[in-house]
């Protein structure tokens, strides 16, 4: 790839695009930002790929590190704005309305997915990135430490704290949702 072999770059991109895109998606909750993050990461790899040192670790943690920098930049930039459109499901939103074998199961699973993704997005970024990498992307703490450029102990403690925070947020959100469902219906006298 360093010699300008387009085919090699395409192979490398197809191998790693998925994890990087999903990392961006889980970190930002936006399809557009996740795509931008993926694009930026591979652009950095093209322009300054020589910075990658194989003796320090594998390519995937390095790419996660680049993705993390881009995500934090996007989060900082997008902080003042609130999305009017729920684009968390992006192009697949229409698929939600197609019932499969078990409509009730699909419905409840969709609800769980929505809750978990919302809860992840409300985590502070330093916990969110560790939880996303270790729990969702299932990379080891050692690789996460390389990606985040911090000590292994820091990753472990953040992961533990992040999981507890996530559980807390999930229970709060679950209670809130059930309260909304159980709320007495107001009658319209119009």
């Amino acid at each position: 790839m360093a010699a300008g072999d387009e085919q090699a770059f395409a192979v490398l991109y197809r191998r790693y695009q998925g994890p990087i895109y999903r990392f961006g998606l889980l970190m930002c909750g936006s399809v557009n930002i996740a795509e931008e993050v993926t694009q930026e990461v591979f652009l950095v790899l093209v322009t300054s790929g020589s910075r990658f040192d194989p003796s320090r670790g594998l390519l995937l943690p390095y790419l996660y590190g680049l993705a993390r920098i881009q995500v934090l930049r996007f989060l900082k930039r997008e902080r003042p704005y609130v999305s009017l459109v729920d684009e968390t499901d992006g192009e697949r939103s229409s698929e939600r309305f197609i019932a499969k074998d078990d409509p009730f199961g699909d419905c409840s699973r969709n609800e769980v997915v929505r809750l978990v993704r919302q809860a992840v997005l409300t985590l502070p970024p330093r916990y969110r990135e560790v939880v996303v990498l270790c729990d969702f992307q299932e990379i080891s703490c050692t690789e996460a430490a390389i990606a985040l450029d911090c000590a292994l102990g820091t990753v472990s403690s953040r992961l533990h704290r992040g999981r507890l925070l996530l559980l807390k947020k999930l229970s709060v959100m679950g209670k809130r949702d059930s309260a909304q469902v159980n709320a007495p219906q107001t009658r319209c006298f119009a």
């Binding site: 991109y13 889980l26 795509e35 993926t38 093209v46 969702f136 999981r163």
Partner: protein, 250 residues
């Protein structure tokens, strides 16, 4: 098993991962401990949620236009790079070189600026007292008498604590050391006719050097015995910043 040990393996247990400790022991502990049982249930729920999310987005990929754009960028990058490899390496080295030069220049600048600073510091410590006019304590007015030592007399009716805080008014001049003889000063002459200076709430005395011609502008008569040139004077400035009175110093 203790709760602490259980806490260490609860995540692996909820996700059915292998661990050093046998899961039977952990499950047995959870049966006897309500807190750990709840913790395990929560962890299992979280694990279920994580699996559901990954099942949902596990195969998600960016749209093909990203790949197209990246391949175009890749080709453009290498097409640009190919003709002049040596020049690009030189260009990439240039910022580092300029950074080093800037660093050396900064160090030199610091080294050059240290001796004058030290010299100025030593001069200010051993040398002349600071140039200033001191503000007589708030609420008091310098004396209008000609005695410079008895500068700030307390106003009648002022409290005892005020009196303690008031210090005799001294004016230092940059060219006059404290060892010199005391200056002779005149009384304060109000600049506005009929103004009672004792009514001033707060005032500040500012040492100035005026040309003799300026005295005439202030409405003061200048006798022939005063030689032309600069005259030293103290101006009494009110809290509103306007000059209220003047006295001459010799």
């Amino acid at each position: 098993m203790k709760c602490l040990e259980f806490e260490l393996i609860v995540t692996d247990l909820a996700r059915n991962r292998s661990n050093d400790l046998p899961p039977e022991r952990a499950l047995a502990h959870a049966e006897g401990c309500d807190r750990c049982a709840t913790r395990l249930v929560h962890e299992q729920a979280l694990s279920y949620g994580v699996r559901a999310v990954m099942a949902e987005i596990g195969t998600a990929e960016p749209s093909p236009r990203v790949e197209t754009a990246l391949l175009a960028a890749f080709n453009a990058h290498f097409a640009q790079k190919a003709p002049s490899t040596t020049s690009t390496t030189l260009l990439s080295r240039r910022p580092r070189l300029s950074f080093r030069l800037a660093f050396v220049f900064a160090i030199l600048l610091i080294l050059i600026s240290i001796p004058p600073i030290l010299w100025l510091r030593s001069r200010s410590l051993t040398g002349v007292p600071e140039v200033i006019s001191q503000n007589p304590s708030a609420g008091s007015i310098p004396s209008l008498s000609a005695d410079p030592g008895a500068g700030a007399k307390p106003r009648p009716g002022a409290g005892t604590s005020r009196q303690k805080s008031q210090r005799p008014f001294v004016v230092n001049h940059p060219n006059v050391t404290e060892t010199n003889a005391p200056e002779e000063v005149t009384e304060f002459l109000p600049l506005a006719d009929g103004e009672d200076l004792t009514l001033l709430e707060a005032a500040q005395v500012v040492r100035v050097e005026l040309p003799v011609s300026a005295l005439m502008d202030l409405g003061l008569r200048v006798g022939p015995e005063i030689s032309p040139g600069q005259v030293k004077a103290d101006i009494l400035v009110g809290h509103d910043g306007s000059a209220r009175a003047i006295r001459f110093v010799r």
